[in-house]
Each structure stands twice: as structure tokens, then as C-alpha cells.
Amino acid sequence: MLRIKRVPTIVSNYQKEEGEEVARLGGGCGRNCLNKCCIQGAKLPLYSFKRQNKIVGDRCLAGPESREPPVDFLESLLLGEWEDRMQRGLFRYDVTACETKVIPGDYGFIAQLNEGRHLKKRPTEFRVDKVLQTFDGNKFNFTKVGQEEVLFQFEASVDGEVQFFPSAPVDVENSPSVVAINVSPIEYGHVLLIPRVLECLPQRIDRDSFCLALYMAVEAGNPYFRLGYNSLGAFATINHLHFQAYYLAVPFPIEKAPTKKIATFDGGVMISKLLNYPVRGLVFEGGNTVEELSNTVSDACICLQDNNIPYNVLIADCGRRIFLFPQCYAEKQALGEVNAELLDTQVNPAVWEISGHMVLKRKKDYEEASEENAWRLLAEVSLSEARFEEVNALIFETIACIDNGKGGATHSSEGEIKTEEVDAITSGSQRARVSGTQECIVLQ
């Protein structure tokens, strides 16, 4: 068993240290959390989005009556509610008071000096060699957050129209998904998207929840509002399914990296690999519908999960570009293979850091921050070329397996995926490897 020690970030005002968590035995907990004890009669704003049939942005030319750009409603809702919580003092510190800068260089890595985020408390042990772990109700999870920390419910609308209800009852039967604040924000508007919060799902991606996250990016309609996901073993500390998101109106270094296309699938999804970037990763784009893109990425994530490979995901460009990074830093850390200097910075390279946004605890690190240093740190996170190719092959086998039900993938002429590998998909061994997910077995 591999473990590392770190001080977990506090994301809720109701999050206690390990050992301080006490199992609740039903009955009122004395405050307004999301559990059975308090949820009855709770009301929260509800934003329900429209599921689109066509991918956003490829709208046929809008007719004259709809030439006005859509009101940036979700954005106004999120910003307004967030600012409200700021003024109510719910955050542990004012993130806008934290100095931040774009580091000069080709990529423009972003550094922030944030001394208030990390507690000077005893570090906790985290198991890093198991990506899939069962949910533990005794540990902190998002049913324990206060209702005041929840900004709104976020659902697909039933009748296919965008709707907003300023005060909708929380329908427990309907398994609501919510957006809550992160009380230790790394940027303005830092929130947590918690799919089906009351179901207490562990931190693992499934098609439905990834789709919800992608729709949030699409609905927000702002390329500077990005969502991120960390698997267990890739620096997620709370084993309760959640995505993160925030606003930062500058391009992320990862978004500037060149890419090389390696495959296109029948559903229109294009997969490229990152070039000239310290962390090796895949980029997913295109897709005839939001669902096509979402399912391809989720299937890739599920494949990684089932093969115990930790990874991070970044949803960018209003949901049109999705980056997937398998990583191994935590494992290296546990095995003592990480350079001491890097460890001292206490930067845990999760999705935001890998994308190029580094939050630094020490003034020295902030002042000395350079593109070179950032590159060096991130290079430690990346899988080696050989290992990355292995992982890619795994992913492609899985996705092609599912895609083959529809007719097969095509590869660009310089594609690295050998046709033989793809054609070799049979119902035998490949299915067994990803048998944890029914999604692979149900082919359209």
C-alpha cells in the first residue's frame, strides 16, 4: 500500500480534521446540512439547462429574432451567488487579496501566492495506489456542507427548455446535483459541482456525471470558466464525486500547447496528443453532439480508473476541448522518488497545476517562479513516453471497442494507433478488463 502525507484543503466550513469527524446517527445534527436530518423542506435556486442536440457553437446561423447573444444567465447566477457568500464572510480568506501573476515565457504559467489556503495542521495520510475506493460515510463528504454553502441546484430540464427557479424545493427523490462554494478558493468563483449529492457516489467518473460537468461548461458559455477533475491518487482528497470550477480570464498554458491529431471517431470526436508540454496528455474535441464528446471522454476515464491509473481532467473552451492526463506523481512521492526541492514547494500537481495555474504557499517560491521551474515540476508529474503510449493503447482499445458498435474509427495518416490493435477487439479479453462498467457492454 502506498501512502503520502498531506494537509487536506478545507473546502467546507463544516469539514473537520481527521479524527474530529463523528458519525452521525440520524436525528438532527443541529444545523442545516444536506443530510436527511436537515434536507426536508430545504429550498435552493434551481437552474435547469437544455440538452442540446447539436454541438454548441455550430448553431446554424441564428435567425434574425435570435441574433442577440443569449443572456449569460448561468454566469450571472454563479457570480452573483458567489459574491453574496463573499460578503457574508463564508470564505476563509479573500482570494482576490492574493497576489498573482503571469510568469514571463512562451506559455505564460500563472503563479499565485496564497499563504492562507493551507492550514498549519497535522498532515493526513492518503492512500495513493488505489484509484477506486469505496465511499466512507464517516469521512467528510458533501452531505455535511451547510446549505448556505450551496449556491444552486443544477439539472437537465425535463421539458427541454432553460428554466430558473429562484427558490425550488430540494427534491430528494430526484437525486439533485448541486453547485457549492469552495471555502478555500484558488480563484474568484471557485465552486464544486457535486452530481447527485445525496447518492454519496465515490470519486469516480461515470457517463452521466461527466455529461453534467460538460453541460455546465457549455451553459456557462465563457471560455475562462473551466472545470477540473482529480481522481483519487491524483490529488483528490475527498472521496465523494465532485468537479471543481472557477473563473480566470487569461489563457491557460495547456490551452496554448500544440497538438497532433491521432484519431477521429465516427461520432465526430477527435483525439490528439499534446506536444511540447511537460505533461503528456490527450485532447478530446469535436463530436456531433455534447453527449458524443462526453461519452468518449468518460469511457477513457473509466478505462483508466478500472486499470488503476490516476488521472486528471480539464474541461476548457466552453466544453469544446477536454484534456486528459494520466499521472504518477503521487506514486513517485510515496516511493520517495521525488526531488526534495520540489517536495518542499508542497505543490500537489492536480488538474489546475498541470494546466499551468500554480498556487504557491511560500513567498520565496512565488518570487522565484519561472517557466523553467514550473516545467521542471510538471515534468515529474508526467508519465514517461513509453508508459504513456501503453496507456494510450489501453484507452484506444476501450474506446474503439465501444465505437466499433457504430462502425469504427478512422486514423489520420500519421496515426500511431496500428489498425491491427484496433481490429483485434473481440468480446473476450478487452471486455473483461473494463467489465466494471456496463457502458462498454451496451453498444449502440
Binding site: 455550430d58 459574491e83 453574496d84 429562484p166 474568484y188 490551452e255 497538438t259 456531433n288
Partner: protein, 402 residues
């Protein structure tokens, strides 16, 4: 919406003399002119070359944003580069995949450049020239793309005339040899370029680039001439600091997207003047921008404005805290209105307070937002949007920042 189309008409009519459209229509090049000050950054003029190339009619194009011509295989990174160039108000030349009305994709060299108002330094329009291209990048064994063409020097291979259509006919004869070299592209014969499977990237040649630059200069000359006649001259580069010269241009653009009535004031300058005022603020109060920029907000107060409330505001500002007050304010025409005013400090990337934002809400004003966000929530969302913009846009080395 009718008002949107009106703004689009005005965009051109107020700036250029009446026969500018006719003059622009004399060119066969494909180009579009957009107005970043109108919500959605729409196309306000499309050349006949553009309509021909894209297959759309004028009515289908005017009012659209450029992204309407992008599609599933348009490179997202290129789109991001264009977005950043617009934001930073600088020119860009980039290869881009666009889609025609019939859904077929085509590659073009997109050359876009801002046009500035000579007097106040603001960007009036962006001019975008589209030059169709179909040249695959040459790939050597180790994957490095070379830009040079190692083709036979035979200048007689002029298939390009047919391939590129009317744009090419204007290439003057003494460049034919060069043209021949450039046009001898294997991809002409390659079925890939016939639209069956659009190649994944495409390079513009030097000739294409020159073509684009020439077209742009022609357009600029026309626009310069016709703006001279209206007395509202434009030029290619920023000749003077923008009115809101105390704010960087990219910050100005970002703030311009916020629909609510608000102002930014600068506590570091004497008498804490307004350094930004939104269009909605100007509409609410009846003032013109130059009448408010540089002045303290006190001009909004009048005889019956409660001094206790004014003191509360002063106190909050002194304590660097947010506050909400209900205050009687006066418009330029001396009429008064009750203003639910929310003031908040705004920090920039240094972490220190750079401005105060004041968001105004006229009492009794009908809820404009059909969806049901409360007025208070909309007010706070404006604060949030301002905070994101000010923080983000002060993070890097912005050359236009004073």
C-alpha cells in the same frame, strides 16, 4: 432584435460617409468588418467576395459573429488565438478552417486587424480578410514542417487560376513565375483536397499573405477616406491614448460586456474620479461618457440627497468595505430617481485595492431579465464580473496598460 440591427446600421453610417459601401463593393476580395462595441461583436459589413465564397446572403451574415462560420473541425486553438488577439486589440494572421452554407469546409488565411479612431484611440472596427488556401504543409521525415516549396521550377503550371477562382485573376503578371511555383501543389491532384477528407492543417504561402495584406490596405484606404469626410477619421494604429486611458484596453473590452449600470472609481487619484462608466450607466443618468469620466460621483447627488447616506458611503470606502444604500440621485436633466447603490472594493492582481465599483439599480425599474434573477443578484453578479475582469487582466504584461 430591431435595436441590434439599428446599432449595426449606425456602426457604419455614423463613422463613414454614405457611399462607403459602394466603394467597398468594388473590391472582389473576401472580407468582413465587425464592431466590437456592439454586444456579440457582430459583422456589420460583408463584401460580395465573402458572400460568394461562403454561399450566404447578406441578410444571413450581417449581425452574426465570426464563430458562425466555424464548425466541428475548426481548430479550437486557432479560435483561441483569434479571441486573444481581439481582446488585446492587435492584428493576427492565421490559417483557419471555415464552413460554407452548404456545410463544406474550406481553408483560408484569416488576416484581421483593428482600426482605431484617430481622435480617441478606441477601436472602431476589426477588418478581417479571408484568402482561400489549399496548400498542405510539407512534412519531412522527422516531423518538422518546412515552409519552403521544393517543387519543380516550371512556371507553366498554372492550374491555380481555376482552383482559386476570381481572387487569383487579379495577381499581376510579373509574379506568374512565383505563382507557378506556389501553385504546383500535389494536393491539387490529391482527392483529399476536394473536400472528401479535409486535410488537418493548411499553410498559407507568402503570396497568400501578401494578397491578404494588400486587400487590407485597400480597405483601410477606403475607410480612411470615407471617415475623413465625416470628420471621424480612422487609422491603422492607435494614434492617441483611449479616452479611458487609465484602464488597459483589454479591461475596457471585458467591462464592456457587463450589461448593468456601473462605474469604476479610482481611490488612488485625487478626488476619486470615475475611470469607467458602462453604457447602461450613461443611459440611466443621461450623461455622455466624456461628461463623467474624470469626475467624482458627487455630481449624481442633489438638493434632496440625504447626507447621512453620503457619509455612510464615505465611511465604507474608508474602511475598504462593501455597502448597499438607497440614495436619491439626479440625472443630467435634473430629474431624480431612487438608486439602490451597491459599492464594493475591487482588487487587482497585486492583491491590493485598485478601484471601487458602484452598481446602480433604479428603484421601480422593471425586471429586464426574463429569467427571474433578482435585481439584487444581478447587481452582485456585476460586482463579480468586474472583480474577475480587473484581477485577471492585470496579471500579465499588458503593453497597452499605462
Amino acid at each position: 432584435m430591431a435595436s441590434q440591427l439599428l446599432l449595426i446600421e449606425q456602426s457604419f453610417n455614423s463613422r463613414y460617409s454614405v457611399d462607403v459601401r459602394e466603394a467597398l463593393d468594388e473590391f472582389s476580395d473576401s472580407f468582413t468588418i465587425t464592431d466590437p462595441s456592439i454586444s456579440g461583436h457582430p459583422i456589420v459589413f460583408a463584401s460580395r467576395g465573402f458572400l460568394k465564397m461562403s454561399g450566404y446572403s447578406k441578410d444571413e451574415v450581417i449581425g452574426q459573429n465570426g464563430r458562425a462560420f466555424q464548425g466541428p473541425r475548426t481548430n479550437r486553438r486557432s479560435v483561441m488565438e483569434i479571441r486573444e488577439a481581439i481582446r488585446e486589440e492587435r492584428p493576427i494572421q492565421i490559417n483557419l478552417l471555415n464552413y460554407r452554407k452548404d456545410g463544406t469546409p474550406f481553408w483560408m488565411l484569416f488576416h484581421m486587424s483593428p482600426i482605431f479612431c484617430k481622435k480617441d484611440g478606441r477601436v472602431t472596427h476589426f477588418v478581417g480578410v479571408q484568402v482561400p488556401i489549399s496548400r498542405k504543409p510539407r512534412r519531412s521525415v522527422n516531423g518538422i514542417e518546412r515552409n519552403s516549396v521544393d517543387l519543380c521550377e516550371d512556371g507553366s503550371r498554372l492550374r491555380g487560376d481555376i482552383l482559386f477562382g476570381s481572387c487569383r485573376r487579379e495577381v499581376c503578371s510579373d509574379t506568374l513565375v512565383e505563382l507557378g511555383r506556389v501553385l504546383a501543389i500535389e494536393s491539387v491532384l490529391d482527392s483529399d483536397s476536394r473536400g472528401l477528407d479535409i486535410e488537418e492543417s493548411c499553410e498559407a504561402s507568402d503570396v497568400d499573405k501578401q494578397r491578404a495584406a494588400t486587400a487590407f490596405n485597400k480597405i483601410l484606404s477606403v475607410l480612411t477616406l470615407h471617415s475623413e469626410l465625416t470628420g471621424r477619421l480612422v487609422c491603422e494604429e492607435r494614434c492617441s491614448l483611449p479616452e479611458q486611458s487609465l484602464l488597459s484596453s483589454s479591461l475596457n473590452i471585458s467591462l464592456g460586456r457587463i450589461k448593468q449600470s456601473f462605474v469604476l472609481t479610482d481611490p488612488h487619484l485625487a478626488d476619486m474620479p470615475i475611470v469607467y462608466a458602462s453604457d447602461a450607466f450613461l443611459r440611466l443618468t443621461g450623461y455622455a461618457r466624456h461628461e463623467v469620466l474624470g469626475f467624482n460621483c458627487r455630481f449624481l447627488s442633489g438638493v434632496d440627497t440625504d447626507s447621512v447616506t453620503l457619509n455612510r458611503i464615505k465611511e465604507s470606502i474608508r474602511n475598504e468595505q462593501a455597502c448597499t444604500v438607497r440614495i436619491l440621485n439626479y440625472r443630467k436633466d435634473k430629474s431624480s430617481f431612487w438608486n439602490f447603490l451597491h459599492i464594493s472594493p475591487v482588487r487587482n492582481a497585486s492583491g491590493k485595492i485598485a478601484y471601487f465599483v458602484g452598481v446602480q439599480m433604479e428603484e421601480g425599474c422593471k425586471n429586464q431579465d426574463g429569467h427571474g434573477l433578482s435585481p439584487e443578484m444581478r447587481q452582485l453578479s456585476a460586482v463579480g464580473a468586474v472583480k474577475v475582469a480587473v484581477r485577471s487582466l492585470s496579471m500579465g504584461a499588458d503593453p497597452s496598460k499605462s
